[in-house]
């Protein structure tokens, strides 16, 4: 993130924080769509989702590092874009596969068990991934190779880092595409049907298992993109990087209304901006914002901003 511009103008500073917050929030939005879809279908907080995000960061880091040939003595060595493309494809497909595998091995056998069992399993899978990550990748932080000039782009009175712009554009494109997919295609209709009523959807000829698998694959792919974007922007990869980010993304999903993709996007952006604002005042309290937001939302409007409020049947 860029330091504040030297300006006394409060409005400009607020705008600057907003811009920083939007970049941060875009990543939350990308991760939040995965939570929101899975919760919509299975009523399960997929704790492991945050670690799929972590895997996405690592899965894009290694190809970028190994393939990204840096010419010696270049002024500002950068990873070429085709390497980034390859890293992107690898991270997305590997994470989608991981997500499907997690669903198949850990969640599907428990689909009819109590929700508590599923929740505990999800926590277990999450810790497993974190620690296997630590065993495989090592606990020391890794840094993603540079791919852009990392300069700021002036947008009117404020300055935005070029990497932040990339985050915003890519995230908007991905979330938009997912939304269109869910709303406009037959497969998307099946996904919506499953989140509405899985049993009835099955009776209507929807292949429930395949649809749930697909939900996990798409959500995990989105998380992978988020992980890659954050890796390129704030290059400090650790095996536990997913924990806090994942929690915040889940809060974003709740804030926007669980089950809704535009809601997740909106919640992510709002949370990112709120965090940046608080962070400008005191960086350490920024992490607590999400939890305050969570408690307030659940007390005031548990269905979130864009969620449908369903009455709980007795």
């Amino acid at each position: 993130m860029l330091p504040l511009l030297e300006t006394s103008d409060l409005a400009t500073r607020l705008l600057q924080q907003c811009a920083n917050g939007v970049a941060k929030g875009s990543v939350y939005a990308l991760v939040a769509v995965g939570y929101t879809r899975v919760y919509g279908v299975l009523q399960l907080i997929n704790f492991a989702h945050s670690d799929v995000y972590m895997l996405g960061a690592y899965f894009s880091y290694y190809p970028a590092k190994w393939l990204g040939y840096m010419p010696e003595g270049a002024e500002k060595p950068k990873v070429p874009f085709y390497v980034l493309g390859l890293a992107f494809l690898f991270a997305v497909s590997a994470c989608a596969a991981t997500g499907m595998l997690i669903e198949r091995l850990a969640y599907r056998p428990l689909r009819n068990a109590s929700r508590l069992s599923a929740l505990i399993t999800a926590i277990g899978v999450s810790i497993l991934l974190q620690n296997v990550g630590q065993m495989v990748f090592g606990a020391d932080p890794k840094s993603f190779p540079r791919y852009m000039d990392q300069e700021s782009v002036a947008l009117g009175p404020i300055a935005v880092a070029d990497t932040s712009l990339v985050i915003i554009v890519v995230a908007a494109a991905m979330v938009g595409a997912l939304h269109l997919f869910v709303q406009r295609t037959r497969t998307g209709a099946a996904m919506r049907a499953c989140s509405h009523d899985m049993r009835t959807a099955g009776l209507m000829g929807v292949n429930v298992n395949a649809t749930v698998s697909l939900t996990f694959a798409l959500g995990s792919a989105m998380a992978a993109v988020g992980g890659m974007l954050i890796a390129m922007d704030q290059p400090r990869l650790t095996p536990t990087m997913g924990l806090l980010a994942g929690l915040k993304a889940f809060v974003a999903a709740v804030l926007g209304g669980i089950g809704s993709i535009p809601g997740a996007a909106l919640g992510g952006l709002l949370l990112g901006v709120a965090e940046s604002m608080v962070g400008a005042w005191n960086t350490t309290y920024a992490d607590a914002v999400a939890f305050v937001v969570l408690v307030v939302v659940l007390l005031v409007k548990p269905s979130g901003i864009l969620g449908k409020s369903g009455r709980e049947k007795v």
Binding site: I45, S117, T121, V125, I127, L128, M135, F291, L298
Partner: protein, 339 residues
């Protein structure tokens, strides 16, 4: 009542006996593990009241533990009587000094944690299942963020040079008190009401149980003993920092419960014992394979495998008691059973 006191005295006597054995005949490292077992037992039993009996899935137990640890350590290390007229401390020694200062300090830690339990319990009343888990997780994280930012308690470095008051007697005395109290609580009307709330909140309400009150009381009760466990932990390890009380600590306690069987206090004890001794045994393995994270990965795998194949844990909701033992062991009274 008399019977309860009798059992309690028996428990305390047992703790004292264990103390004599451990302090005289056990080398320091195994003694530390024995003491850690006691603290884990308190944590597991107290979380069982919230998660197991009342069915309120909390992931913030380490937060309560942290509050208890910090408050009691603050009492025994820093708090001194301040004379406002002379504007100076009356004495250099802490107010809660020495062995007689320790129980009040421990109690203060427990009460502070119980207050936190009350504060957390009230707003989270409307949350259920997964949402409650996330909210309590958030509470634990906020506690550790706040503690990292309090200069008065050492920030991220935490409190150091805490006097080592917590010996085997205090730890196991507290554990016995916790177990016995919880055992009686479980069998009381109140405990039945907690279980009713777990099984079906609506039906419990219809039967005239004030579910909100039950949930809050469970939180306060569990938080109190978590605070006591935290105080003991601080005075055993001699240093505490926010890193001791992270998310992983809460999860560790949850794993103990799940392993022993959610809802069973004696199951919690067994789970706590297994999961405190096992990692120490695995520490050598971890060193040999030179993979950090191996231990926690195994924990996690254990958790998932338990959930897939035996979700009710070792004991289920049953309690280990003399009656159960009698039923399991081949008895000599019944002639039909003789081989």
């Amino acid at each position: 009542m008399l019977r309860a006191l009798g059992i309690l005295c028996l428990g305390l006597a047992g703790a004292f006996g264990l103390h004599l054995v451990v302090s005289n005949a056990v080398p320091p490292y195994p003694a530390l593990i024995v003491n850690m077992c006691g603290i884990s037992i308190i944590l597991a039993i107290s979380l069982n009241v919230i998660n197991g009996l009342t069915g309120q899935f909390s992931l913030g137990h380490a937060g309560f533990m942290a509050i208890g640890a910090y408050v009691s350590a603050y009492f025994t290390t820093t708090l001194r009587y301040f004379d406002p007229d002379a504007a100076r401390y009356i004495s250099e020694a802490p107010l809660f000094d020495g062995l007689w200062g320790f129980p009040p300090a421990l109690l203060a830690g427990g009460i502070a944690a119980a207050l936190a339990g009350l504060i957390v319990g009230i707003p989270t009343l409307r949350l259920k299942g997964d949402y409650l888990a996330i909210a309590t997780l958030g509470f634990g994280e906020i506690v550790s963020i706040l503690l990292s930012n309090f200069r008065a308690v050492g920030g991220t470095k935490g409190l150091t040079s805490i006097p080592g008051y917590a010996d085997t007697f205090w730890i196991y005395g507290s554990a016995a008190t916790c177990l016995i109290l919880t055992g009686f609580l479980q069998r009381s009307t109140f405990g039945r009401a907690l279980i009713a709330v777990r099984e079906n909140e609506l039906a419990a309400e219809v039967m005239g149980i004030n579910a909100a009150r039950m949930k809050i009381t469970a939180f306060v009760y569990g938080a109190f003993f978590a605070g006591v466990a935290g105080g003991l932990f601080g005075h055993l390890m001699l240093t505490i920092s926010p890193a001791n009380f992270g998310y992983m600590k809460s999860v560790e306690v949850v794993v103990m419960l799940v392993l022993g069987g959610l809802g069973s206090s004696t199951g919690a004890v067994v789970g706590a014992l297994i999961l405190t001794v096992l990692p120490e045994a695995l520490r050598d393995v971890e060193r040999q394979v030179e993979l950090s994270g191996f231990r926690m990965a195994l924990y996690a795998l254990l958790l998932v495998v338990m959930m897939l194949f035996r979700p009710q844990g070792i004991f289920g909701q049953r309690e280990l008691s003399l009656k159960l033992l009698r039923r399991l062991l081949p008895s000599r009274d019944k002639p039909g059973r003789q081989p």
